[in-house]
């Protein structure tokens, strides 16, 4: 919500502090030390990211080159990681499919529908969802959501059972891939609706008013001005949500009862696990090469989320340049 203000103030700032150190000034040792510390802190970020990749590669490498029979599962690293990768992507995609339309609706409600006075507190309420610890989400998923969903799954099996997703048999506990996806969807809603809200609020006011002046209804105005303007922002918001969902650990680890399978059945009791959940479940009891294998899967996950986030952020960054011209 601070973005509009930031762009205003950030504008002149981008040209840099006007006062360059003047010529022939007294010695500026303090300045040098301070700016050096600041630069060092910035470089720490780069070093940390590089360090994450390097240390994961270093510790995971033995698993990548180990003889296939030594790796857990006995078939080598790639067969081990494949079902996990599949589960990770599947759960994240389910979450994204559920959360994408909802987050647009939530963001529109806060930016264009809710009365101005209560819009900010409402946004704060949605942000609270982001603060709930994932282990609490996991418990909630098991004890509250899963039992509620069993009849829904039963109905899905009966009516849509011809689709591979819902062929059943329905899990009696409700702890299925679809449940995990729904929990993940709730968890990524705040970040996605947050990004959407920001870009919706940045729609040029004059365009909106022009549409309304031409007699457009509110929904027509939104479809003609807000949504086209916000398209790339919505895409990057979705990518950020996807990145979150890919890496989420405990909620999935608690909700799913995993097996090393690749299955599109979303409501059955055998589900593929996700990379993150698999690490959380197995790491405490692992030793030797099993640890290296888990770290190597972590490296796969890191690469995946890094790419997704990188694309999302690059899209946002490019968009910022455009909106600067519009503002």
């Amino acid at each position: 919500m601070t973005t509009p203000a930031t762009t205003q103030v950030g504008g002149p700032l981008d040209q840099g502090p006007p006062a360059e150190p003047r010529i022939g000034s007294r010695n500026r040792t303090g300045d040098k030390i301070f700016s050096g510390t600041a630069t060092a802190a910035g470089i720490t970020i780069l070093v940390t990211l590089a360090g994450i990749a390097a240390f994961l590669l270093y510790e995971g490498f033995p698993a990548l080159v180990a003889a296939p029979e030594d790796v857990p599962g006995g078939e080598g690293f790639w067969p081990y990681v494949q079902p996990l990768l599949f589960g990770t992507v599947l759960a994240a995609v389910i979450a994204l499919i559920i959360a994408a339309p909802l987050s647009i609706g939530i963001a529109l409600f806060i930016s264009h529908y809710a009365p101005r006075k209560i819009a900010a507190p409402l946004g704060y309420l949605v942000d609270l969802l982001a603060a709930v610890p994932s282990v609490v989400y996991g418990l909630w998923g098991i004890f509250f959501l899963a039992p509620q969903l069993v009849p829904v799954f039963q109905w899905l099996e009966n009516t849509l059972g011809f689709l591979p997703f819902f062929e059943g048999p329905t899990s009696a506990t409700g702890r299925t891939m679809l449940t995990a996806g729904i929990v993940l969807a709730v968890m990524i809603l705040p970040i996605m609706s947050g990004v959407n809200r920001e870009v919706f609020l940045q729609t040029p006011r004059l365009q909106e008013e022009a549409a309304l002046a031409l007699g457009a209804t509110r929904s027509e105005m939104i479809r003609m001005t807000v949504l086209p303007f916000a398209r790339s922002g919505m895409v990057s918001g979705a990518m950020l949500g996807l990145g979150r969902a890919l890496g989420e650990t405990l909620a999935v680890a608690l909700v799913l009862s995993p097996a090393a399978v690749i299955s599109f059945n979303l409501i059955g009791s055998t589900n593929s696990s996700t990379i993150a959940a698999n690490i959380a479940l197995n790491f405490p009891e692992s030793s030797g090469l099993a640890v290296n294998t888990l770290i190597a899967t972590g490296l796969v996950l890191f690469t995946l989320t890094f790419v997704v986030n990188f694309i999302a952020r690059a899209v946002v960054a490019r968009r910022k340049d455009f909106s600067g011209a519009n503002a």
Binding site: G42, F55, P133, S134, L139
Partner: protein, 356 residues
């Protein structure tokens, strides 16, 4: 000129300005009617609540646009339908929040007592026991993470706003954003991979957890502090320079104090963000039943881990473990909500620009 319709061609009804518009009270009235019908269905017919709510929402989705269609035409009906849809989406988002709060409070209160807050799990097999060791562990680990993250985060933000130009600054900005998206478990694996090189593969201690949490916390701190520093008016900096104050003194004595409230808010929210992290601690701090206050020596429990293991390994009989898991979840939830509240109050009191 002759083709224009003269007012006399309109009927009296068409000429009226309110013609073709539903009266303002129509929407509240429709909603009220649906609510009353739903309440009647639940009370009199004993219909299941979720079904009634679902049908009620569906009824609104049909009734409001249909009314508009009859009186106002297709475009307005379309508009009404979108309004209803958007409102439903928002209500759907609040549903899990409400249900989370209710579930956690209901289940957690059973064991949320003095004993739970003041004893650890030493020698506890069935009933009783508490989470003192986990609470203390969480405070120590999160505190250390804060001590690491806040200076690094603030200095990075200072670099980005006050010094950073060109390639390096752009790269850092982008990578801070990317770092925000690092999966928490990867942060844990990183801390483990780092420390296991020095201390062997069975390394488990609190400071490792603090390092892992720092990886997650630094980008959050950088982002929020950066936003705050950008909001400090340039006039203040220029005035300070004009008085001959050096740049670093300007930053330390003018810029940072001006943004202090916003920075405090951002740091509080960052703490709230990482205090509930489970996955990295599962890997690098492990779990223990007894109070350990030394972050560099041995396993250290924490609230999220305690919650996790109390549920997955509840002991015999299992209900006591599960009760403790809920109580720990409630404790954690309360801490996080409290931190969020503190952040809000901070930004409200100091009138920082975070709250619009």
């Amino acid at each position: 000129m002759t083709t224009t319709t003269t007012p006399t061609d309109l009927t009296a009804a068409e000429a009226s300005l309110s013609q073709g518009r539903l009266p303002r009270w129509s929407t509240p009235a429709t909603v009220a009617a649906v609510v009353v019908l739903g309440a009647l269905a639940i009370l009199v017919l004993d219909a299941p609540v979720p079904l009634v709510v679902g049908l009620g929402v569906l009824a609104l989705l049909v009734a409001l646009p249909a009314l508009a269609w009859v009186v106002e035409g297709r475009r307005r009906a379309n508009d009404r339908m979108w309004t209803v849809l958007v409102t439903i989406a928002f209500a759907l988002a609040l549903l899990p929040l409400l249900s989370l709060m209710i579930t956690v409070t209901q289940n957690g209160l059973a064991r949320f007592d003095w004993e739970f807050l003041t004893t650890d799990m030493r020698g506890v097999l069935g009933e009783g026991g508490g989470a003192l060791h986990a609470i203390v562990g969480t405070l120590i680990i999160t505190g250390l993470a804060t001590v690491i993250s806040v200076p690094v985060g603030i200095m990075t933000a200072v670099y980005l706003v006050e010094y950073g130009r060109g390639r390096l600054a752009r790269a850092i900005t982008l990578l801070v954003d990317v770092m925000t998206g690092i999966p928490s478990i990867v942060a844990g694996l990183f801390a483990f991979a780092l420390f296991s090189i020095f201390f062997g593969p069975s390394v488990r201690f609190g400071i490792g957890g603090a390092v892992a949490l720092s990886v997650l916390m630094i980008p959050v701190v950088v982002r929020s502090v950066e936003e705050m520093l950008k909001l400090v008016p340039n006039e203040l900096r220029e005035a300070s320079y004009a008085l001959g104050v050096s740049q670093w003194r300007t930053i330390v004595r003018v810029v940072l104090p001006t943004a202090a409230a916003g920075i405090a808010t951002g740091v509080t929210l960052a703490i709230a963000r990482v205090i509930g992290e489970t996955a990295p601690l599962l890997i690098i701090t492990g779990s223990t039943n007894i109070l350990n206050t030394d972050p560099v020596d041995g396993r250290m429990s924490s609230l999220p881990i305690f919650t996790y293991y109390s549920y997955t390994i509840p002991g015999v009989p299992p209900e006591f473990g599960v009760e403790r898991a809920w109580a720990a979840a409630l404790t954690l939830f309360l801490i996080v909500m409290l931190l969020n509240l503190v952040a809000r109050v901070l930004s409200r009191i100091f009138g920082s620009p975070t709250s619009r």
